[in-house]
Symmetry: D2
Subunit: 492 residues, 4 copies
């Protein structure tokens, strides 16, 4: 039976910093670097101590980091304090929930202030929510994050860290989370480590972020990843206090990191799960070339390798280079121009005219493609409609042949761990029963090849093949999943 993925559980970027006099400013830069992980909304919370009192300050709103925090003179004096956490939220366009669900969340409970920013998707949140309600909890949002807050508040443990660990132990599914209290910055990753979370250092400050590109922008140094099932506790008190590492129940070295982070989501200049994303993508392109090369009939015929910018640029470069090594007269070219003036506000007037959607975003570079054998490398195919229109567009530039190469396997299953795929029925590979030939015909290319799961595992060959979750390709979900999960039953 099929489900509707709730759009309130989603891909996001998180950031945290301690012991820095410009904590909010550093977070601002960090969130900017993580903008690709969430463009719908952004928020920051700082912790300050005024006259012996702990004060939390928050600013959050809809839009890009540069839109929510557009008036420096306004927000900078407000967000005082030496510690901060921040969050970018992925698009959940049109949801009437959107305003209330913007993170971080901030509340007051028996042990003081509490702010949480969360990336991932819990798989037992419905059950937890029902239990909490039966205990008298009230919910103002449909967000997983509120569940986490209630679990912490419910804990009877004395120490705040114990409360947090107990709460996190209840959770199933994917989460990377930063929590700010009056005394600590806590950063944790679920037991299987679906989503990335990195630890860094900047002078005397600790920094945590979804990806290392957020460290680069503030010149922080990468130390290590937060481990799957690890809870890192960083005291806010400056001075000699050291960070403490706690383990969640069930932490056992097993990991199920999201391979799609490498394929599409993370930035190529980031290092996550121990590798530079750029390096893995280039490998994916090379494997793709070795296994599914495009070899011209006439040996001296030229082959143009192009990407669908920007996410498949590196894979396309790898593909071109590997083809060259095979003696083919291949070269990487920029065959599609991508407009960066679209943003969230671009309307597509006349929705009937769907082909405009692609034309507004892409224009083929005619001189480059005319009469050429063209290999188009893309990172994935989801619904297939965009690919079809894009290929149509490229076709108008007059290439001799178009070969489509995908640097991932066919996406056949929904993701319950935070990747924002549509429902199964909308996935072209599911609809066509995994028949690559049928997909090829639908999209209208001369040939189409995907990678296999084994190919992906080869690209991360330094790691154990089981270290990665490939459920969207294989359907093998590493945790219990509530297939009956339905969308939130009320709208706020």
């Amino acid at each position: 039976m099929e489900i509707t993925i709730s759009r309130t559980k989603c891909f996001c970027g998180i950031f945290g910093i301690t012991n820095h006099k410009n904590a909010a400013m550093m977070s601002y830069y960090g969130l900017h670097a993580l903008q690709h992980r969430g463009q719908e909304a952004s928020g920051m919370v700082t912790h300050d101590r005024e006259n012996g009192k702990d004060v939390f300050r928050i600013i959050k709103g809809e839009g890009l980091v540069s839109e929510v925090f557009d008036d420096f003179d306004e927000w900078q004096p407000q967000l005082t304090g030496n510690a901060a956490i921040g969050h970018n939220r992925y698009s959940t366009t049109g949801s009437s929930n959107s305003r209330k669900n913007i993170q971080p969340f901030i509340v007051n409970y028996h042990s003081g202030n509490l702010a949480v920013a969360h990336n991932g998707n819990l798989t037992n949140d419905t059950k937890l929510r029902k239990w909490l309600e039966s205990e008298g909890s009230i919910f103002q949002t449909t967000s997983d994050t509120e569940v986490i807050l209630h679990l912490i508040a419910k804990s009877k443990k004395k120490s705040q860290i114990d409360q947090i660990v107990e709460a996190l132990d209840f959770l199933e599914g994917a989460f990377s989370v930063v929590i700010l209290t009056d005394n600590y910055l806590v950063a944790a990753r679920d037991k299987l480590g679906f989503r990335p979370l990195c630890l860094g250092k900047l002078g005397d400050s600790y920094v945590v972020a979804s990806e290392t590109c957020a460290f680069d922008i503030i010149s922080a140094e990468y130390i290590r990843d937060i481990e799957p099932g690890e809870v890192v506790v960083i005291p806010l008190i400056d001075g000699d206090s050291e960070l403490e590492s706690r383990a969640l129940e069930g932490k056992n070295g097993e990991r199920k990191q999201c391979i799609f982070e490498y394929i599409y989501f993370s930035r190529p200049d980031s290092m996550i799960f121990g590798h530079y994303v750029d390096k893995i993508r280039r490998r994916l392109g090379k494997i793709l070339a070795r296994k599914y090369p495009v070899l011209p009939v006439k040996p001296d015929e030229k082959v143009i390798v192009m990407s669908v910018p920007d996410s498949s640029n590196t894979a396309a470069l790898g593909y071109a280079r590997e083809l060259e090594k095979m003696g083919v007269d291949a070269r990487f070219e920029i065959g599609l121009l991508r407009s960066h003036y679209i943003g969230r506000t671009f309307i597509e007037p006349g929705q009937e005219n769907r082909e405009m959607r692609v034309k507004i975003k892409f224009n083929p570079v005619k001189g480059v493609l005319k009469d050429k054998i063209v290999v188009v490398v893309d990172d994935s195919i989801v619904r297939g409609t965009t690919s079809k229109q894009l290929i149509n567009l490229i076709r108008e530039a007059g290439p001799k042949e178009i070969h489509f190469r995908i640097s991932s396997p066919p996406i056949m299953h929904s993701c319950y761990y935070g990747m924002d795929f549509p429902s199964k029925e909308e996935l072209i590979a599911f609809k066509m029963d995994g028949n690559v030939d049928a997909i090829k015909d639908y999209i209208g290319v001369d040939s189409l090849s995907y990678l296999t799961i084994a190919d992906l595992q080869e690209a991360v060959k330094e790691d154990n093949p089981d270290d990665y979750c490939t459920a969207c390709f294989s359907g093998e979900y590493p945790t219990r999943v509530d297939f009956n999960f339905t969308k939130e039953h009320y709208e706020v």
Copy 2:
């Protein structure tokens, strides 16, 4: 010992309606009529049943009703359903809390949806909040209303109405409240009935509102007041179901209605606590004239009676008429023009120049006042600074004498029941130890007279003198009050 009144507990206007196909539109009109009770923010919640599911819709924001609901085509299609509640919020300018504290509040708990709009100020909220936190509740705002929601969610009672009654039984202080659930509209008033709340009928619909002027605008009929300590339960199911009346613990016929509602806050065209406001105000003016007349030395000399528009218009009319009856050649004149173009957005550039504040709002009508004996009637004096500047302004118009008559006693004490007075130390009457002569000199008038508490009681002579709270004049608070109450300790 002195306290700071939390600005999150405050004067407001509330409205509710059932069984009306244009429930949101009726609420819009009702809230517009109640605009004087709160200009900072406004909100509405509707209940709809879609495919057998109960859905709550909410729109709220900062500004006047006409600003929050400025695009009819946008909000009207969203706020579907046959039942609604609404709320106007009084100014708490500059509070960083303001956005989150806008009412109604809407949450989800074990028994379904719940929305609350509240007018008044609880006196035991700090205690309740601490207890709830110790039980694992988390708070997102500093509002009393959230306390009410938690108490309902905590109740172990089976029936939702029992849960609500149990929760309200916990509360001390002043509250008039409307609650919307999936099945009921509940309207209740605290045991002493500090704030008004009226019940009306419009066709097959029940209506509740802070004042009857909200009934007039939608041509609803006034039935009766909700009684002090009464909980009125109106089923949302259309048809034969009748409303049910429940009693709060301690309901015993005693009442302590806020006399200041008559003096200043309510609209003159409303009926509250059983009387037209306009009628009581005229009586206050007449009593003021009888007890503190201005009698010219030369019997044929003319006396001009003017009001500080608009709240003291009726009292001034009563004063003038009574003086005339006493044989004085007195007449009511419009001596001050009031600008209605100020609104919430008006800046006062050059804050140092305080006198501009008054000039921006008022201009004396010179021809009327020149060389005359002038009686200025006002409803009250709070800090005294505005009165002083206003009298200065009138003085410039060249009157022979200025006599200042106040249709209430000196305000000497803070209000813990929802009236937005400043702290005691800022009250001119407290600062001058109740010395009327000193106040007269400070303000700079030829004579100054206030009413006494007994005079107020005479104005509502149909009622028992003990039926009204006069704590701001007498300091005799009818409930326990936490004088150590301090402002919220965190800002959200």
Copy 3:
């Protein structure tokens, strides 16, 4: 034959000041005081001299003064300089022209900078515009003001003042105008002086304004009116320079001042055309009472006199007092409450439901009117629809009789001099052929009386009866009028 009044020619408020270090701030206050003359848009221009260069600064926009100039810290540092002019524009809702037509206008021409703000309506603007176009002028707006600018630029006179006087000599119709150049503030009134314009002094500064209420707010002293046909030239150079008075061609002592300024438009606390508005309005009420009293059949029966607030308050007071003098037991009461929370943003959802328009604005005070003989005093009837609904509303409060008294004659003709009446066909008095009985029946009152033109003239008996324009009542236009005038033929 009938015409459509162009909404771009209109009622407005103008202001100017010289030689004041806070020229913009003074203008801000002045415009605020003149807000009633125009709520659609507002603007200011200042003149500054920087490094020997003349610089004009301008800010203008749609909305109230307090909305256009809502951020003091933003506009105050921009509008530098010692001289300024400002303008408030009357509502021309929905016109796509509106943005471009906001005044003041500012241009650069051969003799330097030029800014103009204008109140009135030219009657030969179409002819002038055609002639200017034939000479190569291009027009960016449909405003009269742009015509004035072109005429000045076209002048071959050497001295800038001669250029301006020559340009103004071309104009026919109504205008009060302030002009700012690099060297002068010029204030002028058309030969017949339709619209008011006053001259004042504030320390070493000269001030001009449509009404004296703009002087009061900044504590400036009224000196005299700018005379009909007078051009007052005030040098910007501080020090000994004195103002110069020039005469327009045709200035001959004749005047045709708009009597409607007294009846409705000006503020009661202003002095215009040599009288306090308040005084004239009271006289109108008294004459109305003397000529059309409401005398109860039973001599001891009470009569309630009420106004339609706020514009007819003073006339109603005068009416009540005069009736009293005649021995009637009459008294002035506040019978209608007016909401001041409407503003420009208030929507009337469900336009079909026209009666809501009136209910949103007014509510009768029931206790006051029930079973009483009620006299409702209003300043004028235009279309009659609002009056009809208002009387309906009052009727619901249960009065015994309603007598309607109008402090002006029936409006039968369009105004070509700046008053924003609708076309003749929409005027109830024109539609009913001046038949007062028919109007009475339409509105639904027990009796209806208007004043006559002679009555108006009696109210300004100190002046020559011919000093006032009464064309909207009599149809006798004091200048040539282009009855074929049609609306602008292009939209910008």
Copy 4:
């Protein structure tokens, strides 16, 4: 002597279309494709005929096309008509002139409506403006475009086309212009053809645009360029009317096309001046490699060629390929990630911290650059500050050597024809007297090479070398230039 370039004369994108039922929509798409030519402001004018009358409709505002035209349902019904012109304006941040100078301009003159959109910079505008003012013209803006409008209005010619041609004959300098009248769309290019302007066809419609990428998005077909000194007249009347070509005085086949359009400004997928931009850029990269190769000491050492994205991508690809052909083990890599989330709203808090400007926009891909010989290809160096910081940033990624290659000669002179360079004194090449070694040291690279003007001419070898303006490199201005030109002397 040095000058300040007026920011009101600038680079822009223009578009026009006739005889299309969705003229505004086509313009919307066209302007979107031309967005790179101007991001500050955007506007459209349509021509409609209603009831036999010609009506011009206009919408314009600050921001991107997608921001100015963000509500499709709002603008689409307003911009009716079969013909339209549009304009994108280049950044002139902070100018108080900005609002008034947004194009197209629309006016009314003796021959009807007139709208103009203009790209380029007149060199005799000050003289023309003075002359026009002496003839009685008034100016509302500081824009060249207003000068053009006045010249047309001044013309005594009978035919509107003659008026326009006469006006354009007066102009000196650079202009590509589209003019809409009640009867024609006119497109013209100055005698030397500095700026591009293309003619296309879409069904029965003619289309004109700055670049052919605006044709691609609406699937229009490119026909030919508007010739230097050509005035193309397209009748708006549908049917058999054909376009007419007129010649400006002085049109003689000579041309001085801006070579910088190829180097940086135009889109690589456009064809302008007869060539695909992409092709010329690749040639520039190849010539750069042939003349200034980076040859490793050890012949088998690898060389990484990277671009400063996005404008130098193609040149970098050409460089890498040519190096490969020379037997070097060179490859193109994506060494810098560029953030596209910056937009116009991004603030750089802490302006002192200038290096953040670059870090916010770019992040090096560390794995790619570490220990490598790196060639960075950029299109030009203006002030040198950004280049310096960018090289610093790349240096942090640990390359062995950095070689900087510029696909244009040193910029030594201001542009008077519309390119928005800063003043001469701010140009690094001017400051360092053209000393490449000094610039190399300033920027901090191991080697630095520029192209020569002859190299540029080789890249467009199909054309006559004299067909291009290279004044910014050589100082040889092809027209008279007013070196004393100073900034506008008033601000509006």
